[in-house]
Symmetry: C2
Subunit: 340 residues, 2 copies
Amino acid sequence: MNLKQLSEMLGLSQTTVSRALNGYPEVNEATRERVLQAVQETGYRPNKAAQRLATGKAGSIGLVMPTAPGHYSDVHFGEFLTGLGEEAVRHDFHFVIMPSDPDDEVAALRRLAISGNVDALFVAYMRGHDPRLPLLKSLSMPFLVHGRSFCTEPDYPYLDIDNEGAFYDATRLLLQLGHTRFGLLNGPEHLDFAIRRRNGVVSALGERGLTLPEDCISHMSMTDEHGQFAMERFLQLPERPTAILCSSTVLALGAIRAVTQAGLKLGEDISLIAHDDVLPHLKPENFSVPLTTTRSSLRAAGVRIAQRLIGTVKRDGPFPEQELWKTELIVRASTGAAPR
Amino acid sequence: MNLKQLSEMLGLSQTTVSRALNGYPEVNEATRERVLQAVQETGYRPNKAAQRLATGKAGSIGLVMPTAPGHYSDVHFGEFLTGLGEEAVRHDFHFVIMPSDPDDEVAALRRLAISGNVDALFVAYMRGHDPRLPLLKSLSMPFLVHGRSFCTEPDYPYLDIDNEGAFYDATRLLLQLGHTRFGLLNGPEHLDFAIRRRNGVVSALGERGLTLPEDCISHMSMTDEHGQFAMERFLQLPERPTAILCSSTVLALGAIRAVTQAGLKLGEDISLIAHDDVLPHLKPENFSVPLTTTRSSLRAAGVRIAQRLIGTVKRDGPFPEQELWKTELIVRASTGAAPR
DNA sequence: CCAAAATTCCAAAGCGCTTTGACAACAGAC
DNA sequence: GTCTGTTGTCAAAGCGCTTTGGAATTTTGG
């Protein structure tokens, strides 16, 4: 069933039917009713490809998903996508996901953009000096960045959380509890959020004249296995840290395993604060020792990003170009006074 | 840059350029070279919407993603998608993801199908008597089902794992270890895999004249929180089970927490076997007591499904219509002889 | 009652691509 | 020198939709 058939069926021209469907005013209400009725009955749906060709728009936002045989999927990706979707479904938008080798993301992004398949682009997992940014800026297509890119002038639309502030505050809390030896279990070194979180820690320590030794920093992709491994290394240090900052609850899962297996008690021998993206399957309050966290919902960020992106495409704006969300510091049982 | 401009630039007709690009034989090799050269230089990419309109194909597979404010994202979804993507990227295919309210999935699937945006469809999270199946069959568009639908004649293309066999074997192992009181931590009751796994357990128990009491079965969405909660209930039973079958390592995470908090030892007081989808961030060998599991890689299933789907669209087939993968039973430390 | 304005509808062009059918140009066969 | 067969190219139609400019019809105002 296409427009032509539908209009013939109704004895109207394609123009009129199209207008009736798209809410143009110059069509009789009675006629519009009749058209809508027929659409109901026949189940007619306009062909999106044709619509896109004609209008240049088709209600889709594009993103590239890194994937390769050795490449780990990321729990956070799914959670974020769910947030995007939650908003998209309200506007009848869909996603076009272009899978890409992680080494080829820039090219994949360009292909996606000029494929004419999407109205707007979304990127995340920003790095310092991110090479996708110049591309995006040159593209004359709406885009939105989740996170920021260190060492790049922030003249692009983004939504980010205050990573530096979060880890600064967390470190301060631990300092107040008397801790002096710190360890940082962080995400991959090149990622922007990891850089900023590290800066937050270093800066809070600096105010007290403390430093974060190189061997007390661990950068890794965020799986529980890596968390455990890195924590084991920390624990074997001659002057082992008593306070741990941790970039994800997934990492914390492994780290705590290492603590427990070493016969140490969380919240007493070792204090730990993790960043909580509010993953539904891994709640900090459910850990055997409930976790003190810096919290910011990844999913909520997804919803907001979809809102802004879709709003821009539909020209519902204006939206603020840049948003920086504060995180909440939630104290639970995994933090305690420094052991003496 | 579009075809017309490119062809004018080259002094050729659109036809010739198009043919050169799409590998048709009736074009001079020298001309083809010249065209390819120009494409390199200009970065020309055909407009996918136009291509789709003209050919009816555009290299995309469609899927619907359930999402709603209260709806949990599922870790398994991301992992599976990564597998799909791993194969798709090799064929320059992309995904069109239609977010949908979970109550509206059938309609969303129909919209996606007749939107003319996709070449093939994929569905998962099958239920008994799944209402999407009749729709898919009526659609005359290639599709593939991950899982099966209980109570529906299996006359549709699917890829599934042998859930019943997996849990049958796991139960047998526990029986051999002398266990007689069983508990089942299962996925949502209406889902096909949950039904089959339950059947596997019941059938193995039945052979020994044993039953699975209603209060030793728990159906829930698979988060660690639910796992913990359900396990706590099991442990309070007057005749508490000593052997636990568990539909996911995520559930197991919570269940084990309950076991530990009750002061019981996994592998001694309580034996547990979980199904392992090979999630990279949650490895059974890393649990404080390594987990005995039935294993089948979700990601590998994704790769295979993409292979079949893309192959069908490209007419590379034929592929077997139905595949049933065996799972591996891997014995680790969480299973031991029944306590006396 | 008639001209002007408003309303309702339509024919046709165009979006960027693929594909059909045809046409030159050139070779070799008789 | 004509006839057939290749080879390389092109013009034009068509995919299903939106949108422009204009035509037909109805309503309004003097």
